[in-house]
Structures are given as structure tokens and as C-alpha cells.
Symmetry: C2
Subunit: 685 residues, 2 copies
């Protein structure tokens, strides 16, 4: 296997693989970079210099020894245009290129950015480019259990080899840290938010310290998900009441113990009183009282608490979409300054499309951080090609109108809207021990897009797609253009074949894979797809207007106003906010039902186009990655049809309407679709 | 990462990695092999030629284009000296080398053997070497569940990506098949013996057919573990009684369905009426009645049934070591001719050392196949370096005396003792999706040794170790000698620090990791370590003589005779067969207790020696594999001490005896060792 390994294109190298530039750019770059030097010599600066050498080699531009030409210098400076993680790249016609930063991590980020510019064919002869991350905490959330199983993971077992830590430090940890650093990701929550107390015991703190040691030179801090009842489960206390002094003392002592082993430990992530997890409300205390107690424990060490707002109660009859807002908005201003409230992009749960979460813009006195899901629990998991850069950006660019037009979610998250200094963006990782890290080559783009948007929420998803494509498949324009053409509409295609016109949560139970709009038997009403689409003989959709659950009132008045009328509601969110008759007229004049069917058809047709576009790249892509993506697109094509047919078969059983002319009947009857079961579907909790 | 990948020494290439020969051998080989040709052109012959080219490159002996020199020809012939899988290699002074075989698979095996000879520095100028496998079915048993979890697996999740099969055929399948073919392994049971009916449903048969298609060119057949109650669970029948015509008809139809998709399907492996699994005894039918019903279903297609003899009943008060013999020996002669009874090497369960299983030699009219455990459930799992070639060979060379001296287990297994044509050897795989396949570099040697011994049970474990070392780390004598010196006594070291002098089954509950000789609370008596060592104030050991359970009567008279007296019992098995006073005199004159302690000490000391020997190889071994093995040896050293100290602390609490002078007290008191628990230990069922 040496040969195959030497040329392995198994995706393991991610966007950092060798993709030599065209000859002219290559020689230009080689001339630009004949000498490489650094004036800083700490571990991270040494990594930065090594990455620069390695990256030039990757691009086929290894400096000729003693050749005449320019110099690239890594230099620590005081520069007010950048922050502590930023960098400033200047290239002068005399051939002097300087990558400057205030700290060594900025030098590393600057090197990776310089290489990104080179890989994407940007001119490098003259540069004056300053860049700083706009979000402070750029964090991956691993939903990894201590037994190696990853909840909602579709790319193999956890990369964390807890059993053989701390003695054995897998080389994978360094590769992982390097890939994250190339994007500016600076934090990692290593364990599942459905946490176990074991991760807080001494042996596991020692294991975590070993991981922290591997990630530290790359500018990455480790965090832990904390089990609320740990003081009882491993501390021998009778209670976990946040106002019980013994409980607070236990968390202080535990924090001191962790920081003694990991001086730069980031802090805790908490899922409390959510989906059966314990929390302060079990003691009639508020989320703020719980978060602040924990925050006080890590405060002396400079740590933070990331407190999730993903809550909905089984005994709460109100619209699930309203419950997080109802619980948290009244607490605005009550959270300690080292607490971030972590809010999902939408109010339900990472659906193919959701309106932005109403908490954004509604808690100006609170540090709100974004939680995106990179792992595609609801968007095709490991096989469907559905680029999430467009989904992330759609939410970030949504205008909350909280302080008038232009009050985008991005400005809430980067702190500029309300003047917060502690800011953050979390992404639920799609990373596992599979050789390609993310379950498919294209899923790597979602990891990449998250990292780039956490650095700069204003980046366009198309720019990011082009960057990723050039680095992942090489800079040939035909390749970059075609790959980008495949990626950009791919998430909308999934919305069309899964949840058109604002539908949501119609997937299979448990594994959340495949269509199951008919499910109505689950214990909790809000677990059932029928709760969300409310289809009957007359119509379909969830009325969240004033006549309904009035969830629209959680948005700023100008938005609530628009959402109060179907005619002024973005049709992409139509059935999220309104229950409408099947013959409701869409803007294009057709009836709602035939519009729905046409969306399903359009989604399937788009996947067929993606197949043709990918096939056209066969001459340009290595055999391995071409074949894998081709196989996955075939799965996606078949399953898009399945989604379309099963959904139509079900809704027809409810509305008894014919299909618009030109739309094919489902391949099977409804019973057949209902009988499909998926044993051993991956990622289940 | 291209650079790291190009030179990756992560163990993924196994014993097939690039290890260039010394210059003289390299040029000799290049001269020997300037032209490569084949007169056969089927898929397997083409693979054989490609492997020859690839292998020569691996050894640094790529033929110079159009160079003058010898020719290697792959040729199908009629040759009575070899069987259908054998090969015959001749090399003449005129430079003509011929690798001949009766079938293409023999050509592939011949090529791999020729490359093995080259890699180990054997002279190649003149050869006349005929070799045929002595065992017909050389099979890996994967205890892999359909959800990807491997029972008793310590090297990551299952390599079988059931979820994305049949659409996606991972390149790993080909790499896996190639590694097996290089050893002559020709069968794979893909699913756990604790089987689920789902693996027999249509979707899973289609997935299996895809795997079979990948393995077929490499001469490997797929088999399935069969769930006895499948006719009820997926067939809608009311019973699984083997004598119920409807049940037999269901299995016939299911077999026809499988063979329609996989014409060369190997057959079924069955764990029946064992550890809670259902079986024919649930219907008061014998194992033979069950096996024969299944055998009839696959017979028309040329399939076989491998029926495990690993049985012991919770309601049977008799010595567990006797129960398999008691159940199966009376059935000798009753099994159909396409049934193999699969017998573990010992009567308990893959302990560091067991006497050979009394069924070997006791069922002359039955096809008996061997079951070894390659995955080291009881011998250090993924981190301890304990080469199992010596364990496998010790059992194979054991003399059953069934037909007088020389009636070795090997002769039972290869069929020569009783004239059986259908023969087999199974190994419970230690293979997972971890990059190094087997959890450690040295665990790969156990996979290798199993394959080589299945081909020829008479091979010496040292020869195999040297072969493996040369191919895995390169042919330098210092390396090969030192690695072999580390491997050969390594299993005895584990016996010494875990279960000296014939002790067994004193490990932790569930995960079977670490010492727990004190456990006595488990529901079934034979699950408890105290059941096996029976230590009390007076003595220790399990009396299996006529005064005890009389298990010795299950062996041939000359052996039973020797075992009836401690003085004539091999001391390595002393406490397996005898309960003896703590002051019993060992052959070397010392008391049993101090002898035991000295064995524990010797085991720990040997691991310390292994560390020194490995460290001496640092200049010769790549950084990655050196560091990983060094880290694992440090774990083994610490845990050998743990085994030694915990065992001594416990037995001292029973016998209240002092340690012999010069032996150190345990580091902690007994309670400390009892308190150690291992959350999330891998491999649990």
C-alpha cells in the first residue's frame, strides 16, 4: 500500500492537501518567498514558520535554496488596526513581505491566510491587508460520548481516545488542531452537552490536560460540557441547588482542580433543564442563577460559561418555538459578564430552513452566542451534498430590526450592535475518526465555512465555497466554478425535497433520517411531525400569527408586522408562520398545493443536475474522491425522490387532491413509505 | 499533510509496507525480475501480476525497463504436488522463475509467498518450492455488530460501513482483502456470533453481496453468523424447532435467497444455546439436530455450517470446563458431512494459558475446527505487547495422544489424524477502523501469525515473528533480532503477571481488563474468579482430578494419567488441574506461594526488559511507530505491576503469608485495588 498511501486522496488532508499552482503563479510565489524568517521564536511562531514552508511546498512553490528574490518575515508588532488574534500582511514591490501580529497566534493565522490567498490565485506582489477575528470565541462543540460514540455523528467514532489517554496522544490531535487553526477556530468543547459526571473526575481531567497540551500551540483552548448534578453524582452532595453554598464551593474546588492541570482551560458549556437534562429549575432557580454560580467558579481563572438556551418543557402546552424566548428573554441583564447564552440559529432545532431565533436582538444586555449545527442531523447526514455555508450566512444576515434596519444577527453575534466584548460562535462538529474526518468530502466544506464565518460573519458563502474548492480540488477554474455551482444551490435543493415553503420537522423519529410527516404517536406532542405541519383536509401550516400561537410577537415590531400577513411573509417561511388553505394563491399565481409539489419536483431535479455537473469533473478529480462523491450523489438522488414521493403520498392522503399535470405519482403507496424502517441508522443518542 | 501522508508510518500498511532490501539483495532481485508475465488472465491472475509489480517496488527492486535479466512467469498448470489453493515456485539458474498453480488464487498466494521470501532475505536464484494450505477453511470471525460496535474490539469501530452499503464500497474493503490474501485467509464471517436477525433480511443480503464482490477477486468468501430464532423474528413463524418442517423450509428458502445474490456464499456460523443465545435445545433437540437442519439448507449450494462448541449452562452445577465435552462428545458421528464443530483452543475462554480443549481427539468422526481469539480480550487488549503466535502454536503442537504419541491438535485440525477432508481454523478478528487496523503495531503480528498458522500449523512461531518483523520494520538484522527477542517471551510474561502456574479467569468483570481475583458476587458461580482459583487459607487451585471434578477423564488415558498427579503435571498448568496447599513444593524446591510471587515478579521484570530492548531500536524505527509502541509499553509496565500487586494483595488477604524475601510489598492495600473501576473500558458486549 505504500503507493496508494503516498498518493492517497482519501480526503484526510482536507483543504490543506497538495494542490500545485499553475506554473506562472507558482514561479511568482517562489520568487516572492525565497527567504522565510521569523523574529519571534515561541512554539506557535515556530509552527507558523513551519506551516509557511509546508504550505509553499503544498502549492509547488518550495523556495529555491539561495535563490534571488523576496523575503517573507513573521514579526511581532504593536499595531492598533488589529486585535490580539489578528494579523497584518504587507507586501512591497521591493519583494519584502511581512506578516505581522501582536501575538504569535496572529502570525500563525496570518500564515494560513497568506497561503489561502496564494492557493486561490490572489495577487501577492503588493499587499496591505489587516484582518482580525470579529468573534472572540470560535468554538467547536463535540457531541462525543466518553465511550467513543458521537451523538448525531456520521463520520465514525470520536477522535478522542479517552481510554488510552493520557499515556497515548494520537497524532490525529495535532492534525485536528492544525486544521482548526487554519480557519481560526480557537476553542473545543470535547464532550457531549448530554454530559456525564465522569468527565469531571481526576482521571479524565488528566486525560483532558493531555489533549490541551496538544492543542495549545495551535491557539486552541479546551472546554467541558458540565453535568449539572455532578456535585451529587461524584461529589457526594445531597443537592445541586445553585444557591446551596456547598454546591457553589464544590464547583469552585472542581474549577480550581481543573485550572491547576489546565491553566488556559476555557470554561463550561451547559445544557440545563433541556430534554431531560437536570438543571437549576429542578430547584426552582432560574437559568441565570445557575449560570452565574458556575461563572463565579471559573471567573478567578478567566474562564467563561456557555449556557444553552435550547429549552422546551414537556408540560408546557405553548408553541415549542416560543419557549426558549419565554424562559430567557425576561432574564436579560441578569447574567454575569463571563456568561454567554448560546442560542441555536432557529427556534426549533437545526431544520433545513428556520427563521432566525427571536432571542437574537431581544437580549441586548446579554452576551448571546450563536450555535450552528455543522453535523447535518436534519440535512442529509453523511451522504447528501448540502452546503451549509448558505444556511449559516442566511441566519447571520437576517435583520432583527432590534435597533432599526441593519440590526443583523451577525451584529448581535459579533457584539457590535449592543457593544459586547465577550462574543462567540459555536458549531456542533461533524468530525469523527473516519479517514475523511466529516463523513464525506463535501461535508468538510461545512467545517471550513463555519470556521471562516466565525472569523468574519460578513464573508459571502460563495467566496468561501470558491476558497474551499480551490484548496480541496485544485485551482483550475473549470473545477472551482463547477464545484461552486454544485454547492451554492445544494441546500435549497434539500429544503425543496424535504421541507418546502417553511415546513419543518417532518423527518423520521430517533435517527431523524428520511421522511415521516405522518408520525403522530409520540408521547410529547412537539415530538410529532403532525404538530409542525398541521395538515388537514382544508390546509397546512403552523399559525404563529396573532390568531395562532402569536410567536411572531417575539420579533421586533416591523418584522412581526410583516409576518402577520401571509402576503407579506417571505414564502420560504410561509408555512412556518401561517396555516393556509390548499388553494391559497402563491405569488406566482399557482395554488399552494401545486406550488408545494413543484418545489418537491424542483429539489429532485436539482440533485439530478448536481450529478451531471459532478460527472463533468471526472477528468479533473482523482479517482478516489470522484467515485466517493459520485456514489453519494446517487444515494442523494434516490433519497430526494423518496422524500418527495413519501411527502406527496402522505399529504395527498390528507387533502385528497390530484397532482398538478406533469408531476409523476409517487412510486409506491403511502403504506410502503410508512413501512420503511432504518435499523442501525447512525448518530442516534 | 501531504508530506506526512506520503511518509505516513501510521501502521496502516501492515506487513505490506515499503521496506527496501539492502543494495546487494535489491539488485539481485531486480536482475531476477526484469520481465514479469502471466499466462492466465482472469481477475485474480491480474491482481497477482499487479501485486508482484507492487511488491517489487516495495522492496526497492522495480524492474528496469527493458533491462537484461530473468523473467518471472505466472502459469496455470496441472501439478499433483499441490492442491487447488497451492503454488509451486521454481527458479532456474538460467533466470527463469515460474510461479505455478492449478488455479488463479494459487498464483496470487504464490506471488505473496515469493515476495515474503524476498523480504526476509531468502535466496531466490534457485528454488523448487511447493506449498499448499493444510487447512481448507482459513476464516476470520468478526464479532462486529450492525451498529458498528465491535464486541471485544479494541481498534475502533467495525470496518463494515453497513449504513452506506451497498451503494458505497469503501476502499478499505480491498485493502483488508489484500492483507488477508497475503496470508492465505480465504473466509470472513462478517457479523458477531451474538447475531441479529436483521443481517438475514433482504437489504442486508444486498449489502453483504457488495462486500462479497470486493473480496471475491482475493479468494475470500463471506459467511454469516445466523440468529437461531430468525425464522420467528423475521420469518413470522411460531417456532424455531429444527425438526419443524416449516422452520427447515424457511432456512432453505433463506439460503436460496442468499445464494442467488452471492453464489459463493460460504455458509453459516452459529452460537447456539450459549450465553443466553437461543438454539435447538430450547426445543429439546440436540446440537447435531440443529446443525444438520441448517447444513441441509446450504448443502445444495456447497455451503457449510460452523457450529460452535462453546457452551455452558447456568443450571449445570458441573465444572464449566467439562460442559462442552459432555454436550458434544456423545454426538460424535451424528453431524452432517458439511458441518464443522468449532472448538475454542481451551475449555474455558481464551485465557492467557489454557490446556488444549479435551474435545480435540475425542470426536474422530466429526469435522472439528479450531477457534483462536486474535483480539486480546484477556491478554492486554490493545496496549499490552503479548505475541500470540506462541499461544496458538502451543495448542496446535499439544499431543492429544488420541491415536498414540504424535496425535497433535494440529493433526486433528488439518484432518490428517482422522482422515477428514473438510477442515478449518477460525480466528476472532482484532481488526477495526483504527488507522493501524489492530489497535497497536504489534497486534498486527497476531493477525499475521493466525493466517500463517492456518496455512501451515507446523510453522514455528519464531519463524513467523521473524517474517513479520522483517516485513513490518525492515530486514536489518539488529531490528529483526531485537523485535523477535521482544515478541517470543512476551506472552509468557503476561501469563506470569496475570495468571501464573495455571491460574485462569481472575480478570475484571464485564470489560475483562485488569485484575479482580476477589470477585465473588456475580449471579452465575462460573462467572466469578473465586470459582476458578478457589483460594483459601490452606491452598489454591481447581481440583480437576478424580478427587475433584474429574475433568482430566475427558483426556486420553495417558494424559489423564499424568494429570492425575501434581508431580507429573506440567507446572504451567498446575493450578488448572489441582488444588494444592500454599506450601506445596514446586520442582525447583520452593513453596507454591513463593513460586507464585516469583512468577508475578518475573512477568513485571520481563516487561521492563522489553522496554529497554524496544528503546534500543529508536535509531532504526520511524518516529511514529517507535513512539506509539514506547507509550504502550509504558502502559503495559504500569499495568503489569498493577496485576502483580493486586493479585498478591488479594491472595495475601486469604493466606496471610509473608512475601518471599526480595519481593516488594504491593504499592497499595487491597481495598485500593478493589476500588479501581474502569468506566467506558472498550470492547464490552
Amino acid at each position: 500500500m505504500p503507493q496508494t498511501v503516498a498518493h492517497a486522496e482519501d480526503g484526510h488532508e482536507l483543504w490543506l492537501r497538495a494542490s500545485p499552482l499553475p506554473a506562472p503563479q507558482r514561479s511568482a510565489l517562489r520568487h516572492q518567498a525565497t527567504r522565510l524568517q521569523t523574529t519571534a521564536h515561541g512554539p506557535t511562531a515556530r509552527l507558523a514558520l513551519a506551516e509557511l514552508q509546508r504550505g509553499l511546498a503544498r502549492l509547488g512553490a518550495t523556495p529555491a535554496r539561495g535563490g534571488k528574490g523576496g523575503t517573507i518575515t513573521l514579526e511581532l508588532v504593536q499595531d492598533s488596526r488589529i486585535n490580539d488574534e489578528g494579523f497584518h500582511i504587507t507586501a512591497r514591490p521591493d519583494g519584502q513581505t511581512v506578516i505581522a501580529a501582536r501575538r504569535e497566534i496572529g502570525l500563525l493565522y496570518g500564515v494560513f491566510h497568506y497561503l489561502r490567498l496564494a492557493a486561490t490565485g490572489a495577487p501577492l506582489a503588493t499587499l496591505d491587508l489587516a484582518s482580525s477575528p470579529r468573534v472572540q470565541l470560535r468554538v467547536l462543540n463535540h457531541w462525543d460520548n466518553l465511550d467513543g460514540v458521537v451523538e448525531r455523528g456520521y463520520s465514525g467514532r470520536s477522535i478522542w481516545d479517552w481510554w488510552r489517554l493520557p499515556d497515548w496522544r494520537d497524532t490525529l490531535y495535532t492534525e485536528y488542531a492544525r486544521a482548526n487553526a487554519s480557519l481560526g477556530i480557537n476553542g473545543v468543547v470535547v464532550n457531549n452537552v448530554n454530559a456525564k459526571s465522569t468527565s469531571l473526575t481526576a482521571p479524565y481531567i488528566a486525560k483532558l490536560a493531555a489533549i490541551a497540551g496538544e492543542l495549545r500551540p495551535w491557539g486552541i483552548r479546551v472546554y467541558l460540557s458540565a453535568r449539572w448534578t455532578a456535585p451529587m453524582e461524584i461529589g457526594g452532595l445531597k443537592s445541586a441547588d445553585p444557591l446551596d453554598p456547598a454546591v457553589a464551593a464544590w464547583w469552585r474546588a472542581k474549577s480550581d482542580e481543573i485550572y491547576a492541570a489546565i491553566p488556559d482551560f476555557g470554561g463550561f458549556l451547559v445544557k440545563a433543564n433541556s430534554e431531560g437534562q437536570p438543571g437549576p429549575q429542578d430547584y426552582r432557580r432560574s437559568h441565570a442563577e445557575g449560570a452565574n454560580m458556575l461563572a463565579a467558579a471559573v471567573k478567578p481563572h478567566g474562564g467563561v460559561v456557555m449556557w444553552r438556551a435550547f429549552v422546551y418543557a414537556h408540560d408546557n402546552p405553548d408553541d415549542r418555538a416560543k419557549q426558549a424566548y419565554n424562559d430567557f428573554q425576561p432574564l436579560d441583564g441578569q447574567f454575569a459578564d463571563n456568561v454567554l447564552v448560546q442560542v441555536k440559529n432557529g427556534a426549533i432545532d437545526f431544520q433545513p430552513r428556520e427563521p432566525f431565533h427571536p432571542l437574537f436582538g431581544a437580549m441586548p444586555k446579554t452576551n448571546l452566542m450563536m450555535e450552528f449545527q455543522i453535523t447535518k442531523e436534519y440535512v442529509g447526514q453523511s451522504t447528501h451534498l448540502t452546503y451549509l455555508g448558505t444556511l449559516f450566512s442566511e441566519t447571520l444576515q437576517a435583520d432583527t430590526q432590534a435597533k432599526g434596519t441593519g440590526s443583523t444577527v451577525a451584529k448581535v453575534v459579533d457584539g457590535t450592535l449592543d457593544g459586547h466584548r465577550l462574543t462567540g460562535m459555536a458549531g456542533v462538529a461533524n468530525i469523527g475518526a473516519d479517514r475523511d474526518w466529516s463523513g464525506s468530502i463535501f461535508n468538510q466544506a461545512d467545517w471550513y465555512a463555519f470556521g471562516r464565518l466565525a472569523w468574519d460573519p460578513e464573508l459571502s458563502p460563495e467566496t468561501i465555497a470558491r476558497e474551499w474548492a480551490a484548496q480541496t480540488f485544485g485551482p483550475a477554474p473549470k473545477v472551482v466554478n463547477t464545484v461552486t455551482t454544485i454547492m451554492m444551490p445544494s441546500r435549497e435543493a434539500a429544503v425543496d425535497y424535504m421541507t418546502p415553503l417553511g415546513l419543518a420537522h417532518v423527518m423520521g423519529t430517533g435517527h431523524h433520517y428520511g421522511p415521516a410527516p405522518w408520525v403522530s404517536h409520540l408521547a410529547r406532542p412537539e415530538w410529532n411531525p403532525v404538530y409542525y405541519h398541521k395538515a388537514d383536509a382544508q390546509g397546512i401550516g403552523f399559525d404563529r400569527s396573532a390568531k395562532g400561537s402569536n410567536a411572531i410577537s417575539q420579533y421586533a415590531p416591523p418584522i412581526a408586522q410583516k409576518l402577520s400577513d401571509p402576503a407579506t411573509t417571505d414564502e420560504r417561511q410561509l408555512l412556518w408562520f401561517h396555516h393556509l388553505p390548499w388553494d391559497y394563491r402563491l405569488k406566482n399565481g399557482e395554488a399552494l398545493w401545486s406550488g408545494m409539489v413543484h418545489h418537491y419536483d424542483a429539489g429532485v431535479a436539482q440533485v439530478a443536475r448536481m450529478q451531471v455537473q459532478w460527472d463533468s469533473l471526472q477528468p479533473y478529480i482523482d479517482k478516489e474522491r470522484f467515485a466517493k462523491t459520485q456514489a453519494f450523489l446517487a444515494i442523494q438522488r434516490r433519497e430526494a425522490q423518496w422524500w418527495r414521493d413519501a411527502s406527496i403520498a402522505y399529504f395527498q392522503s390528507v387533502n385528497h387532491l390530484d397532482l398538478p399535470s406533469g408531476s409523476a405519482k409517487p412510486a409506491h403507496d403511502l403504506d410502503w413509505y410508512k413501512e420503511q424502517n432504518l435499523p442501525y441508522a447512525p448518530g442516534n443518542p
